[in-house]
């Protein structure tokens, strides 16, 4: 059994795929920060940001709607923001009654709500695109170059590698449980909630032990190849002229959004 469902990278030949991962990380973060800075109702800037996302989609050769389709992931969280519809003072738009309470939607509330959603939606699309055009190990290298402490990037690299091994293991455990979740004729299947939680807890404990012992074996494998507490890597990336131009262009575009948003 092979669990590759977690890979978000999409193999393609495109300018964005070839761009240095550092550039992609920096531009994505700048874009998300810029979104957070845009005032409510900066429609022109939102539109420009959206164009930026669409253009990136096109450049990535993944298709214009690629990130759009996957961006619904942030939507459920919108429930949390729904209260701003009623709570911000402004001109009432409509009032409706739910059970015993009256709710009044104000224009300022609506503006805030829509703006929050747009910001989230634009940001999440950019993040989706980042991992679709950058292989995860390259992303980790970029973080290393951007001065994220080595201990964290190393943990992340191991996490990524063993994510697949251990989730495979979890799925096989879950499967084993499922396979024996039977019912005798005429009786209700399954024990109480606490018993079921105990089974899940035992699985977690079992998985912990195996992970722990695996880490021992990995350590042995590392030592066998000369590891003495320090990790060395080759730098596989080099900034080319195109990378600098792309960064310059993206910064200009993001600055333009900020200016437009405040006009």
């Amino acid at each position: 059994m092979h669990f590759d469902a977690f890979d978000r990278y999409h193999e393609k030949e495109s300018i964005l795929h070839r761009l240095d991962p550092r550039v992609k990380v920096v531009v994505t973060v700048l874009f998300i920060v810029s979104n957070a800075l845009l005032p409510d109702g900066a429609w022109l800037a939102f539109a420009l940001a959206w164009m930026f996302v669409l253009a990136s989609n096109l450049l990535s050769k993944l298709g214009l709607g690629y990130t759009f389709k996957r961006s619904i992931i942030a939507l459920p969280f919108a429930l949390i923001a729904i209260t701003v519809l009623f709570s911000i003072p402004g001109n009432p738009l409509t009032t409706f009654r739910l059970f015993v309470w009256d709710f009044t939607i104000t224009d300022a509330g609506l503006l805030r709500f829509v703006s929050i959603l747009i910001r989230a939606w634009l940001s999440v699309q950019m993040a989706i695109l980042l991992v679709a055009v950058t292989r995860f190990p390259d992303l980790v290298h970029a973080l290393e170059h951007l001065r994220v402490p080595a201990i964290l990037t190393t943990i992340i690299a191991f996490l990524y590698r063993y994510l697949f091994v251990l989730t495979d293991e979890v799925f096989r455990l879950l499967r084993a449980r499922q396979a024996r979740s039977a019912a005798a004729p005429g009786s209700r299947s399954g024990g109480g909630v606490v018993w079921r939680a105990k089974v899940a807890g035992n699985m977690a404990g079992q998985l912990f032990l195996r992970s722990y012992e695996r880490s021992d074996r990995i350590y042995n494998a590392m030592v066998a190849r000369g590891y003495v507490g320090h990790l060395y890597t080759l730098n596989p990336h080099e900034m080319k002229s195109g990378d600098y131009y792309a960064t310059a262009f993206a910064i200009a575009a993001i600055f333009l959004m900020q200016v437009l948003g405040r006009l």
Partner: protein, 311 residues
């Protein structure tokens, strides 16, 4: 669903810049401590151990159990990570997990990652470890009971912090978000508590040596008990105020110096979601001009480098 996003992973866009940056600042300082502590205290063996443990926490979050009506319980793992690895390593492991969830699955944003790490990684580990340390040397039953309470409370604390951040950002209304989040997470926390208790019980039964009870000095241990206890106390004190009487929370918050006094609505710390220095004053025009110049300068430098680099 292979991978169920929990309501604690805040996406980008739901916290404003200032709150995001404050959370990042707290997170970075804490992580800085954690890194220097782990670098000092632990051998070379710790690198693969923490990496695989991070993968373990990630995978363990997928172990669920049917509760009722098609819903299922699963766990966050912050308390478990801290109990089995110690607080600092536990925090680093949780940070890696949250970072990968955000980077790879967009479960939680990038700019708000500082907040997410704070809520789900740092506070949960501190509470989990602190409360667990307070019962070291007691009987197994007492230990497991306290572990369950700690796990439950760690989820509640995460939910409380998330609610406060959303409120400070002007995204949610306090008197709605707190009862909603705390209510939901009181239930989620029970799942967390059960799985954590049974998982630690399993380890106590099979490899008690891994729980390393004697590993820390008495003083460090006592400090963690204080940290855990204080955070726990805060959560217990704040949540009923918050859910029952929002004005009460404001009073508590102000008394404790949480926020400056005299604010009409607390989320107007950053009025209207704009950054203060870009108002309609002469000063802001100058600032805007300077920023513009910096941006243009950066672009020129980059283009210059681009011409120099070989293509």
């Amino acid at each position: 669903m292979l991978y169920a996003p929990t309501p604690l992973h805040i996406p980008d866009g739901f916290l404003n810049l200032i709150v995001s940056l404050i959370c990042w600042a707290i997170t970075i300082v804490t992580l800085g401590f954690a890194i220097s502590k782990t670098n000092k205290a632990l051998g070379e063996k710790q690198i693969p151990l923490m990496g695989v443990m991070a993968a373990f926490i990630f995978a363990a979050q997928m172990i669920n159990f049917p509760v009722a009506g098609g819903t299922s319980g699963h766990m966050l793992g912050g308390a478990l990570a801290a109990i089995v690895l110690g607080p600092w390593a536990g925090m680093l492991v949780m940070t890696a997990v949250i970072a990968v969830q955000a980077l790879l699955f967009q479960d939680g944003g990038l700019l708000v990652m500082g907040a997410n790490i704070l809520n789900m990684g740092l506070v949960t580990a501190a509470i989990g470890y602190g409360l667990y340390r307070s019962v070291i040397g007691q009987s197994k039953g007492v230990k497991l009971g306290m572990i369950g309470f700690a796990a439950w409370l760690s989820v509640m604390a995460g939910a409380l912090l998330t609610s406060l951040q959303l409120w400070l950002s002007g995204t949610s209304q306090l008197e709605i978000v707190i009862p909603a989040m705390m209510g939901v997470h009181a239930l989620i926390g029970i799942g967390e508590a059960l799985i954590t208790v049974f998982a630690v019980g399993f380890i106590m039964q099979t490899r008690p040596d891994l729980l390393g009870e004697g590993s820390e000095s008495a003083k460090a241990s006592r400090n963690w008990v204080y940290v855990g206890g204080i955070v726990a106390l805060l959560v217990v004190l704040i949540s009923p105020f918050a859910s029952g009487d929002p004005d009460g929370l404001e009073r508590v918050a102000i008394d404790m110096g949480f926020i400056g006094t005299g604010l009409d609505a607390p989320y107007e710390i950053i009025p209207d979601y704009t950054v203060p220095f870009l108002g309609e004053t002469a000063l802001s025009t100058i600032v805007a001009g300077v920023i513009g110049a910096i941006v243009v300068g950066a672009i020129i430098v980059l283009v210059g480098r681009g011409m120099k680099a070989k293509s």
